[in-house]
């Protein structure tokens, strides 16, 4: 088994129509169901949705000093909206979870293997 990071990306301006309350409810229910499914299948390690990037704080080294500044770290049109860490047999299994995730969250998902493959 290997661990994969499934990160969902929101693209500013390409969000489309804002979700109605009903759609939000539905999406939330789908995500809850997916989380349960991942747990039942033994794939779940951790997952969650993030607040908007303007809530971020950045800590960096500057001349040997630790500096704290208002975030986000990278000003970009795409930002991380949330992520899962899952266990999967191989990339195809991870991609199958990504397909299920995208059905609920509708945003593009990046699948990346963790370096320490043998967990």
């Amino acid at each position: 088994m290997a661990k994969y990071l499934l990160s969902t990306y929101s693209v500013e301006g390409v969000v489309g129509d804002p979700m109605t309350d009903e759609e939000m409810q539905l999406s939330w229910k789908q995500i809850q169901a997916l989380n349960e499914e991942m747990k039942a299948a033994g794939a779940w390690v951790f997952g969650g949705a993030l607040h908007d990037p303007d809530t971020a704080t950045v800590v960096r080294l500057s001349g040997g000093e630790v500096m704290t500044t208002d975030g986000p770290f990278a000003e970009s049109k795409e930002h991380l909206g949330g992520f899962y860490i899952i266990e999967a047999e191989d990339l195809d299994a991870a991609l199958a979870w990504a397909s299920k995730t995208i059905a609920a969250v509708k945003h593009p998902i990046e699948v990346r293997p963790f370096r320490d493959a043998e967990a």
């Binding site: 047999e89 191989d90 990339l91 195809d92 990346r112 293997p113």
Partner: protein, 410 residues
């Protein structure tokens, strides 16, 4: 050592032929055993180097392919035992293979036909770029050296080497599986596999310096057709390649310019390839699960039936293009369909369809318009269209041909 394929005498000799036939089979078997592409690739390369040294003196072994695979396996084990990373690999579970149950590997590494199928699905995994898919397929299944793969796609050798390294690293790191996809995912996963084989063929077709790519693509298509006899599009692709290949020698002039289908010397078409291709097309028709490759093959089969261009059954070709446009609604298909309609209903009807297409950057679009305008007697407009086509033509020979108003052969 790594580029044995590039050694000049290999191309001529029996070893070279066996190399082409057996490289992919051996690499695929060894990837299953060792679960590591690099280990398999290097070991098979080394085994061929040994063959090159010993076969001329000792003579061909009774089963050259088996000899290569066994020698490669033994070399790989020797090498892995010498290296600490290798000892880990031998003792660990294989990285990408379903499992290395027997670390002593006493079991037969005999040919499992599925191995090459597994390998091509790994090479053409949708998680890899098309360029990487093509390069891996040619390198690992075709046995082309990195240098040859680079030359085929007009890329510098170090660039191609990096592309291959990166692709293999991704396969390993992301654990792209080494297995044939299950039935429910097969049609999605087959698409890039067929596209890669078709791309390899077309690369050979458009660069006359690389005719080897055409035969390599046909060889790959034959392997796929043998391993997946129930997939109609696999058969369709093979038939399409065979029928296209039957005309390859008559489609260009010595200066490299194209000879249009209607002007080719049909006595030079290869009848054996045509018969083989047409037989496959007939089996596809009986199966009646049409797809884009099968329909293109059927169109080519109709052309192959006509002894002269005038005898072409254009209404059947139009009917096939109607079906093709339904499954592959691209402007290029629409352009070809319009040309066929022009043969049935006249240039007026064709021009009306062509003018609706958004293909301004595609030089055959302007060449087609030019030809239709010429046939309608609208010579000034025809000349302008020939000029636009010529300005975009990919080769000098084609450009000159179009500058002459497409009259070079008339």
């Amino acid at each position: 050592m790594r580029d044995v394929a590039a050694a000049p005498k290999l191309d001529e000799g029996e070893v070279g032929r066996i190399f082409g036939e057996e490289f992919g089979r051996s690499v695929a078997a060894l990837i299953r055993v060792f679960g590591d592409i690099d280990v398999a690739e290097d070991a098979v390369q080394e085994a061929f180097a040994v063959a090159l040294r010993t076969w001329p003196g000792d003579g061909l072994p009774p089963n050259p392919g088996g000899w290569i695979t066994t020698t490669a396996r033994n070399r790989a084990i020797d090498r892995l035992r010498r290296e600490s990373r290798g000892r880990e690999l031998l003792s660990e579970q294989a990285v990408i293979s379903p499992g290395l149950d027997d670390p002593g590997m006493s079991e037969e590494v005999g040919p499992v036909e599925d191995d090459r199928l597994r390998l091509i699905f790994t090479c053409c995994h949708p998680g890899l770029s098309t360029e990487a898919q093509v390069a891996l397929t040619l390198r690992l299944l075709g046995g082309l050296s990195t240098k040859e793969v680079a030359r085929s796609f007009l890329v510098a050798e170090p660039t191609m080497a990096r592309r291959l390294v990166r692709a293999k690293r991704k396969i390993k790191a992301a654990r792209i599986p080494y297995r044939v996809p299950e039935d429910h995912e097969l049609s999605d996963r087959l698409r890039p596999v067929l596209a890669v084989v078709y791309l390899v063929y077309n690369a050979g077709l458009t660069s006359p310096a690389e005719p080897g790519l055409c035969s390599e693509a046909i060889r790959l298509a034959r392997i796929l057709a043998t391993l997946m006899p129930d997939e109609p599009e696999v058969a369709g692709l093979l038939a399409l390649l065979l029928l296209t290949e039957s005309r390859r020698s008559s489609r260009t002039r010595p200066d490299g310019s194209l000879v249009l289908l209607g002007e080719q010397d049909r006595t030079r078409w290869d009848r054996a390839l045509i018969e083989e291709g047409q037989a496959i097309v007939r089996r596809c028709l009986r199966r009646n699960q049409p797809g884009a490759y099968q329909l293109q093959a059927a169109i080519n089969a109709v052309h192959a039936d006509a002894a002269t261009v005038e005898e072409t059954d254009w209404s059947q070709i139009v009917a096939l293009y109607d079906q093709l446009l339904a499954v592959a609604p691209t402007p290029v298909v629409a352009l070809n369909r319009a040309i066929a309609i022009g043969e049935v209903q006249g240039p007026d009807a064709a021009l009306a369809l062509v003018d609706e297409l958004d293909l301004d950057n595609y030089h055959p679009f302007h060449a087609t318009r030019a030809d239709l305008l010429r046939r309608l007697g609208r010579h000034r407009e025809a000349a302008a269209a020939y000029e636009r086509a010529a300005a975009m033509a990919p080769t000098d020979a084609e450009r000159d041909f179009l500058r002459l108003g497409g009259r070079a052969s008339r």
